[in-house]
Amino acid sequence: MTSMSMVHGVLAAAAPVGQVALGEAIAFWVLGPVALAGALGMVFARNAVHSALLLAVTMLSLGALYMVEQAPFLGFTQIIVYTGAVMMLFLFVLMLVGRDSSDSVVEVLRGQRLAAAILGIGLAGLLVGALAGALPVTADVPIDANNVPAGNVGGLGKLIFTQYLFPFELTSALLITAALGAMLLAFSQSRNAAKKSQRETVVARLRGEHARISPLPGPGVFATADSVATPALLPDGSVAPESLSEILETIPVTPAKPLAPLDARALTAARTERAQEKEAGA
């Protein structure tokens, strides 16, 4: 990840061209590692709830970094919207889905984790290398020159409601669409109309709206066994086909062979023999 060019870039950046204030540097070196540690912990934590909490830590420190970077409005929005609303929504869904729904350790695709790690390290090397090359030429323009009269929030508002008015209106459409979509996806069970009452069902049966007036005969009724596979018998003794389950009908039924009548004493022959021996002995 740290190539020689990056080291050179970092060393070259020590020149006092676009240096930030000492307080900001301290805030960065405190909050940046916290954010990185939170992100790494989120990826590597086995429990999903731990991941969510660590991501909240990352987002909180990012919000503080925004404030340090002269964007106080975005910093507060980050804390309120992300840490307050989005992460709590995540935790809410996690609790609904089940807290113990943690990842399995089994690798489905062979070598996927190794490939992902190589890809991530490569991407990080590319980005950091490119940025490190750009480090020395960066000059820091004070942002206050643009928004001194109105402040950060006033300047943002002025921009949003003049230059970015159309995108802003589009976001309102997007939010409404998202709310509608979430409602549609979340209330999937209430798709049917109101349930019919018992009386309405009876009237519909008598009107002939159903296939038959009475319910289907249950299996085993008027039969010699109580198995579900035993059909009901009609008054003339034939099998009522409607009483057979459609699933069971596909299974071939072999009638049990009639057993030869057993003498009960044959089963206890040994015992009677012993009893007779005992009697003879006595």
Binding site: M42, L74, T77, Q78, F90, A134, A179
Partner: protein
């Protein structure tokens, strides 16, 4: 230290989020990794605004936040409905389109 260090931090955060998306299989955690990537990009936008001395980058970060919020709402609703039908929140279990 120059403001470009913020860009380095956000690049690292973005890479961690990307690796998380590839590695994790719980759909909610994958979603959280996507949020981390969005946050990293937001940090980049704020830093660019600060380097250039304008507010446009901050406005863009603001819009990204709005889009991310609506994305979270819809995505979590989709995850909920998938969980309701398949009783699982693993991305490996939603594989019917494969066959």
């Amino acid at each position: 230290m120059t403001p470009t260090y913020y860009l380095l931090l956000s690049a690292l955060l973005f890479c961690i989020g990307a690796v998380g998306v590839l590695v994790r299989r719980n759909a909610i955690v994958v979603f959280m990794c996507i949020e981390l990537m969005l946050n990293a990009v937001n940090l980049t936008l704020v830093t660019f605004a600060r380097i250039n001395g304008g507010l446009d980058g901050q406005v863009m970060a603001f819009f990204v936040m709005v889009v991310a919020a609506s994305e979270v709402v819809v995505g979590l609703a989709i995850i909920m409905s998938i969980f309701r039908t398949r009783r699982s929140s693993s991305v490996d279990d939603a594989n019917l389109l494969k066959y």
